[in-house]
Symmetry: C2
Subunit: 197 residues, 2 copies
Amino acid sequence: MRSSEITKAKVLKEATTLFNTKGYKSTSLSDITDATGLTKGAIYRHFENKETLEIEAFQKIMQSIFIELSKKISLENNTRDKLFCVLNLFQSYITDPFIVGGCPLLNVAVEVDDTNMELKQKAQQALAVFRHSIEKIIINGKTHKQVRNLVNEKLVATVLISTLEGGIMMSKLQNSNADIEIVVNHLKNWIVSDILL
Amino acid sequence: MRSSEITKAKVLKEATTLFNTKGYKSTSLSDITDATGLTKGAIYRHFENKETLEIEAFQKIMQSIFIELSKKISLENNTRDKLFCVLNLFQSYITDPFIVGGCPLLNVAVEVDDTNMELKQKAQQALAVFRHSIEKIIINGKTHKQVRNLVNEKLVATVLISTLEGGIMMSKLQNSNADIEIVVNHLKNWIVSDILL
DNA sequence: TCATTTTGATACCGATTGGTATCTTAAAAG
DNA sequence: CTTTTAAGATACCAATCGGTATCAAAATGA
């Protein structure tokens, strides 16, 4: 790894944490220089402006989450355990957070408005990727006779994502994992009793 | 209504919309002066600082939503229709929004961090009020033999709120009411088949 | 109607914002 | 080892931030 790449990686790492904790707009460049020990000159050498840094940071964290999740899903060999991988990822958001500050997708989705179209598009894409990964599990489950044929994979993906994201919001607000645990437990029961064969 | 009260109400109204659309921290005082046609001097006559304006605006919008919701709930005379009032409120968030910018509770819950403790407390209180209003419906439903005795009211409240808030997030991100409709429809089926007697 | 109080506009404050031009220094290429 | 290239520090910029002191005008109470 070249020294400039080390610097860029360090900026991205610290900026990602700050963006996810304080918010993207609310994180200033001086916040990032403080966290990295670098100067603005160094940061602007690697990023055209703050907006591209925001976008690169968001894309990188979402990509790494999806890669990690995909690995875990591929290690399981039945529909139930693959779906439970998704739930367990969210359950660990509070107790053993993958990244501090809650779910990056939720945070960006709530923060962006019509003045952040590029970042909003990236969040839309991330949501689509998340959806499809759940839908794929359901569709594969049908072909392997592990999922009821009447099950609508789009509905399952929408309900799972919305409930989990809402659960993260509630748990983060209450500084407690109680809500996300209730929600995950409820979804597990739903999957076992209504989705799986 | 005294003229100063008119001014204060106008500031609160415009600020609430701005806060809920652009975010609290990201809304500047000049945004508010532009929207109201007033000056900073006028605004700071009625609000000690920006933070108290944020808190007053959040409390007022949440209070008005809860009042409106309570009215509709009290007009219904069975558990099913009372619960459906909550769902219908969220379903109309996209098509016929009570306030632009999504759910104020979700927005504040996601935006606040440990540097906004007062606003965070108000959001925690609002969530508690929302929870209790749902739990009350379930408990009353049990005494009127309309809800299964095994149903856990805390679980119902947590699942309903998390799923609805997540659905709002998804629909707002996609500029489409598809997700919130899927979610509301799913929750209605769940209530009818698993909660009610 | 008149005196008093309150309200809101003006002009300002220091601090911070994102961003840039410049120059030294350090790393990479030969 | 030397030359060339690129990286990062410094110092600056105009614009904007939240906030305030002051004063004229308008609303209020007697």
